[in-house]
């Protein structure tokens, strides 16, 4: 009987273990601390722009994160609502404590899944790096397995830095993992040091909340998961404060004491998650920076300051915090810090996230150089399911850039690599109009069926929704609107003249038909408002209007990208000898050899490889195929 071991109980590990178990594979999740499964290292929130998209996508495929945040979220908000249906993304703050418990509960009750506490020391193969057979732990025991997913997060040779002090740790209060890191390096895998950081946590009672700006969550809160019945937790608002000139002055005068700026840190930091030192140094004209004041849990009095990531010595952090209005007597419970860790060059991965040079090993999460829980979770899901499929002799599931943000992320990592911690942004997706997260379940339905991780009830739910949408859309296309029809008065009310008749679809395409007018029209259609699991009339109306009004732009977007997509389907044979290609410059040859693209599409996305070079590659592949 085949089995999988997942090393690491963070967000990537949870998804990998969860999906493998759901697919019926015997799975063991190994973690250095069972109590820390699902721990959120910094911001106690899930989702956001681009990230929220990935959470809904992995939910559509049977992942855990969406369900977990729905069960434990205490503040939900759709971000970027005004920016458009395709780019708006859900975000929620979690009760961190409950999230951990919910994650552990989910795993403990999953069939086919076992949990184990311990530290992985080495991977074992039967010969060289072929024939993976198990994971050796520090305590001497061996977990037998046929495939392993390494989701070690920031724990590989992790080192925390605060001011001038440094300590080996994977996270504050938790030891680092060194043996495994060293073994992986000794196999010749390329690695580099990355860094990330976190903000101080404060005692709630020491903050004057009356002086802070309040930001309420959405009411009612909208779940992430397509399968959540609702949001059980009581909801709380979050608060906002801004840095002051004094804050800036304190940071500037103490820059040499910061681990980052004092020259104590090696790694490269995340550009889209800058420390407060970064912010003041790089954007001196900005004046005030926004800080979100978030409760970590309803069970504790701990407050997280989002946007104040720092590696200043604790006494400087205290002064910084106390310079914020309302925080004059704030107390720090845990100081912020920077952490450096080993991560491995994702160019060494295949598109299914398997490590190319060794057999039976998958890498997912921060180990690949990403930052963020959602990025990690997405990779964990894909690595886990592909490890299972590999063991079963099935083709891997590779999501296209036009199918999901998950596809964009993996392709970016595996094809282009990353110089700094990779964070998802909608700007990275060129098929953006077609990747709205609210329809991720419909869009990925076929893939979900293929993977087989959703229950038949869940699949039926999505199928029913899709079918109902199509039915109603057909009705819309067929319903004829004239002055005397029931729709007539609604149109006039919206300021439209109906000289000739037109289809309801066309009427709804007009900008003057707002959500209210659309609701009234749709209510006249048979079967629109019938209650059904997963069917929310207001949301469906939004999606229908989006579909009607955006179709031409979406089609155009897709058409402009067609040429590229065709290239994605041209495989570069694994044994293709690049060196025998005439006419490629040495530079391009080097890049192709380093990045090892599997398709022409991938090759075209490698920086520095011109369309001309790809065309040449294509010609050669054609030619060698004919022989």
């Amino acid at each position: 009987m085949k089995q999988i071991v997942v090393i690491g109980g963070g967000h990537a590990g949870i998804e990998a273990a969860h999906i493998a178990a759901r697919m019926g594979m015997a799975t063991t999740l190994l973690t250095m601390n069972l109590d820390q499964i699902g721990q959120m290292s910094c911001n106690p929130s899930i989702g956001g722009v681009g990230k929220g998209h990935m959470v809904r996508e992995l939910d559509a495929l049977g992942g855990a994160m969406g369900r977990l945040i729905d069960a434990t979220g205490i503040h939900f908000r759709i971000l970027n609502e005004s920016r458009g249906v395709a780019v708006r993304g859900p975000r929620a703050q979690a009760d961190k404590v409950k999230y951990r418990i919910a994650a552990r509960h989910l795993l403990e009750h999953a069939p086919n899944l076992r949990l184990r506490q311990g530290t992985a020391a080495a991977l074992l193969w039967t010969e060289g790096t072929r024939g993976l057979k198990g994971v050796e732990l520090l305590d001497g025991s061996v977990l037998p397995c046929d495939a392993v997913v390494v989701t070690s997060g920031t724990f590989l040779n992790g080192r925390i830095l605060i001011g001038e002090r440094r300590m080996e740790a994977g996270r504050a209060g938790e030891p680092a993992s060194t043996h495994l890191a060293e073994q992986l390096k000794s196999l010749g895998l390329r690695c580099r040091r990355l860094k990330t950081g976190t903000s101080p946590r404060l005692a709630r009672a020491s903050i004057d909340f009356h002086r802070l700006e309040v930001q309420p969550g959405d009411a009612p809160p909208r779940p992430f998961s397509f399968f959540s019945p609702g949001i059980p937790q009581p909801q709380v608002p979050c608060h906002i404060v801004h840095t002051t000139a004094e804050t800036e002055a304190i940071v500037r005068e103490n820059l040499p004491k910061s681990s980052l700026y004092g020259g104590h840190i090696e790694g490269v930091g995340p550009r889209y998650c800058p420390s407060i030192e970064d912010k003041f140094v790089k954007f001196p004209d900005k004046g005030r920076h926004q800080i979100f004041v978030e409760p970590e849990s309803l069970e504790t009095e701990e407050i997280y300051l989002a946007g104040l990531s720092t590696s200043m010595p604790p006494e400087v952090q205290l002064r910084m915090v106390r310079s914020l209005p309302g925080f004059e007597v704030a107390e720090i419970l845990r100081p912020g810090y920077a952490i450096e860790y080993d991560s491995f060059d994702p160019l060494q991965l295949r598109r299914d996230l398997a490590v190319d040079e060794v057999e039976g090993v998958w890498f997912a999460g921060q180990i690949n150089g990403t930052t963020g829980y959602e990025e990690a979770a997405g990779q964990g899901l894909l690595a886990g399911l592909n490890a299972v499929r590999w063991l079963r002799g099935q083709e891997p599931v590779i999501l296209g850039r036009d199918q999901a943000y998950l596809g964009v992320m993996v392709d970016d990592l595996v094809t282009k690599g990353t110089d700094e911690p990779y964070r998802m942004l909608t700007a990275r997706a060129e098929h953006r109009l077609g990747l709205a997260c609210d329809v991720a379940d419909a869009r990925l339905l076929a893939v979900a069926r293929e993977i087989g991780a959703l229950t038949s009830r869940e699949l039926a739910l999505v199928e029913a929704k899709v079918e109902r949408r199509e039915r109603l859309r057909t009705q819309c296309d067929a319903a004829w609107v004239t002055q005397t029809s029931p729709f007539g008065p609604i149109a006039t009310g919206a300021g439209l003249r109906l000289d000739a008749g037109l289809a309801l679809s066309d009427l709804l395409r007009r900008q003057q038909m707002g959500p209210a007018e659309a609701d009234v029209c749709l209510a006249l259609l048979e079967g629109w408002a019938e209650p059904q699991g997963g069917w929310n009339p207001a949301w469906e109306r939004d999606l229908l209007l989006f579909d009607l009004r955006y179709a031409p732009y979406r089609d155009r977007e897709a058409r402009l990208l067609e040429g590229h997509r065709a290239w994605d389907h041209v495989r570069i044979p694994a044994d293709f000898r690049l060196e025998h290609l005439h006419g490629l410059s040495r530079e391009v040859l080097e890049k192709l050899t380093l990045h090892r693209p599997e398709t022409l599409g991938q090759a075209s996305r490698i920086p520095g490889v011109t369309p001309a070079a790809v065309t040449l590659l294509h010609l050669h592949i054609h030619r060698s195929e004919r022989i």
Partner: protein, 413 residues
Amino acid sequence: MRVSGTGLAARLAPLLSLPEPRRASLRTLRWEGFREQALVLFFPAPASYTGEDLVEFQVHGNPLLVRRLVERLGSLGVRLAEPGEFTRRALLNGKQGLLEAEALRDLVGAETDTQIRLAQARAGGLPSWLLESRQALAPWVARAEAAVDYGEEEGILLDLLVLNGDLAPLRSRFHVEQSRSRAARHLQDGLRLALVGRPNAGKSTLFNALAGEDRAIVTEIPGTTRDVLEVRCEWRGLPLRLYDTAGLRDTEDPVERLGVARVHPVLEGADLVLHLWPAPDPAPDPVLQAALAPFAGKVLEVRTFGDLAGAPGVAIAAHQGDLDALEVALRDRILGGLAPDACLGALATARQVALLDDLARQLDLLAGLAPGCPPELPASLLQGAWGLLARLTGEDRAERTLDELFSGFCLGK
């Protein structure tokens, strides 16, 4: 003869020893009983046309000798180049930009002076307006992306009115370039004119006036028997492809005369069908008019042999050399009113014109967006335009976009 490749000194050693770079030197090439004196030029990589080693042989002009030399080179592992292969290598080795390579290809294929001048005008690399387009678009692409991803938090707005106002000159420029490119494409291909008319309508006279005695290239059009001949020539700076429908010339039988069906493909492919009718007649032949009805949109009725004073429509007197009206008509109807010189430097290949059309359409769509629409729409259109621009210039997809994007904005937490 020109040879390009890596390590040519070693490869060609059995045949000759290469001279000093860039010094034309006499060498005796010996092989299998042959002896040939050649002037040899050597350009070592990377400072050559292709970026690889390049060797040129100037040999005596005997075709058989040349063939034998080619065979000898073949035995040394040198094969005949495919059409355009030298330029392709230059392209891949970064010695040529994509637009320049296309211009060069068109230069090699040029058949008339105007076509040569047009191709040469494009050989200088990226036209400045393309570079300016990139500069004009970049900040808006950046702003749109920032507005979409970070807008709400950081208060970054995308004002559609300002955007469209700012890009209006660019949009106009694209439209102008579209006209120029379409005209340039016609000039590149040659303006296809089908000459149709009853016998003695003046076709031969006009034909001779346009084609002249020299510089005319005559070919039979396959599939139309001997009914149609294509003559390529240049007249008043306009490259022309004249199609003389000879089948309509020779017979007396009215049905035969109107053998339009036989010449149908030519009429389909023509840019303009010149229906010639001679001055003494009060009007063009109605039977012929009816036969040409399917092509009504591109039929130009030309009165020939006319006394030009007060003549309606387009009238010429080819026998007297009065062809101005025709020249004006051709420019107006096919070139959108532009003179050939006005098209110098315009993008002209099918690929370029298609991309330019898409690019202009992107900006048109942007201009057509309703003011209240969500930023993701303009962002998508801008991103599309950016990608098209990159494809037009042949550069890879704008990888640096994210860097440019966010260098101006303080983002993230």
